[in-house]
């Protein structure tokens, strides 16, 4: 009689490293897409604010698509159809592209809200001092409006970080995909998903903590 072959092996400490590395990948893909997406979102928000007609007609519907179609569908569609137009991107880059546009579409409205939160009278006062349009935008509108919508932006950041888990469907081994691999091997979903959850928490919590520190400082 032969011993039955076991396909499964238990969770071992090395797997923690595996998850840790995957968490870094989640962090990396998030930082890239949130940074680029936020800058794009600020520009788009400014365009929407300045030109309600031309750019609004073109830009607003495109952003609405990115905001309204589930991220999962966007990722799969983009990853599978991009090669048809000659864009052969690996899962990581596909993820970054889609997450960036997704972030931008969310940040656009945050940014526009920030600009519009600064009253006309305030902007006239700064222009009356001789500030140019751009000086007013960077020295008055950005700091004042930025603080107003900072909590909303942090909300977008935390949301995108968690949503980056969906890039796993493209086969990119970030935190969620790594957990799935380990679950398949160890058959211990409860333990591994708990650890993965803890990692997500460890990534997000410092951000919200830091954010509320800023908000408290500004409230003074």
């Amino acid at each position: 009689m032969q011993e039955p072959v076991s396909f499964f092996t238990g969770f071992n400490p090395n797997d923690l490293w595996f998850l840790g590395e995957a968490a870094l990948k989640t962090l990396w893909i998030s930082i890239l897409s949130i940074t680029i997406g936020s800058v794009m979102g600020c520009v788009f928000g400014w365009v929407l604010h300045e030109s309600k007609s031309v750019a609004g007609i073109i830009l607003a519907p495109i952003l609405d698509v990115f905001r309204s179609v589930p991220l999962l569908i966007q990722l799969v569609l983009f990853y599978n159809f991009a090669p048809m137009v000659g864009l052969d991107l690996n899962p990581f880059l596909s993820g970054v592209v889609i997450l960036t546009f997704y972030t931008a579409s969310l940040v656009t409205n945050v940014a526009r809200g920030g600009i519009e939160s600064v009253e006309t009278s305030m902007r006239r006062a700064s222009r009356s001092l001789g500030l140019t349009y751009w000086q007013d935008l960077f020295h008055v509108v950005l700091p004042i409006g930025g603080r107003t919508v900072f909590p909303a932006w942090i909300g977008v950041v935390l949301g995108v970080m968690k949503d980056s888990a969906l890039v796993s469907v493209l086969g990119y081994v970030e935190l969620l995909k790594a957990s799935q691999i380990l679950i398949t091997r160890t058959q211990e979903p409860l333990l591994i998903l708990s650890i993965a959850g803890a990692f997500y928490f460890a990534l997000s919590y410092p951000i919200s903590l830091y954010a509320s520190k800023f908000e408290k400082r500004w409230a003074k």
Partner: protein
């Protein structure tokens, strides 16, 4: 010198200013009175180019404000403006509020700008509030901060757009006192105001605006005691 010739301003179908002609010479204090919607405030916005005009000209020291090739940002440095809302920059201390424009517009060094700001804040009686944020100041103090902020650009003219209208009654006096101080120092001022006492005591001339037309202009005594236009007399009777 400020020269306004045949100035017309429309907001859509609304004809707000209907051919204003006005000269304000250096050192003069002009008060503009009249009921709301008579175009007084709009005139100030047209003088420093915050509003475009449809007809006529405004010249500041011979420079056409509304000409395409005029550097309006440079010209505005000559024209300080104080608004009904005080518009303090909430993210900056009073000192930084005042130092911002000298630093980024005039390119002064940080030390120089802060020194200038401290001087102007002391001038308007806020010398003990240099490190405060606007949120901790009263309305009257914030309006004096706005005056200091405008003065820090070392303007030749000051435009006051109902500078005391949004203040609590007990804070009006301190702002009027600051404006009086400027007038005594020889600043050229155009004050749109509802403060008849101020207009009467401080101004060299008072102008009465009615429905987009400057109906009457003259020394305070003439306007307040011997007004020619019936509208002026009616208006003054109602505000007294």
């Amino acid at each position: 010198m400020i020269q306004i010739r045949d100035l017309h301003k429309h907001f859509g179908d609304l004809h707000v200013l209907k051919g204003i002609n006005l000269d304000v010479s250096k050192g003069e204090v002009l008060s503009i009175i009249g009921s709301s919607g008579s175009g007084k405030s709009t005139l100030l916005y047209c003088i420093n180019g915050l509003e475009a005009i449809q007809q006529g000209t405004v010249h500041i020291n011979g420079t056409d404000v509304h000409a395409k090739n005029t550097d309006i940002n440079k010209l505005r440095q000559k024209l300080g403006m104080v608004f009904q809302q005080w518009n303090s920059f909430p993210h900056l201390t009073t000192l930084e509020n005042v130092a911002l424009a000298p630093r980024i517009v005039k390119g002064k060094s940080k030390e120089e700008a802060l020194e200038l700001a401290a001087k102007q804040l002391k001038h308007v009686g806020l010398g003990d509030k240099l490190k405060n944020y606007p949120v901790s100041l009263s309305g009257g103090q914030q309006q004096r901060l706005a005056i200091a902020r405008a003065l820090a650009m070392e303007p030749e003219y000051m435009l006051f757009d109902e500078a005391t209208s949004a203040l609590d009654p007990e804070k009006v006096g301190e702002v009027l006192d600051t404006m009086r101080l400027l007038a005594e120092e020889g600043m050229t001022m155009i004050c749109v105001t509802h403060e008849m006492g101020f207009a009467r005591e401080v101004s060299d001339r008072v102008a009465y605006f009615h429905e987009g037309i400057m109906e009457e202009i003259g020394p305070p005594q003439q306007i307040f005691e011997d007004a020619q236009s019936e509208h002026t007399r009616k208006f003054l009777m109602n505000v007294r």
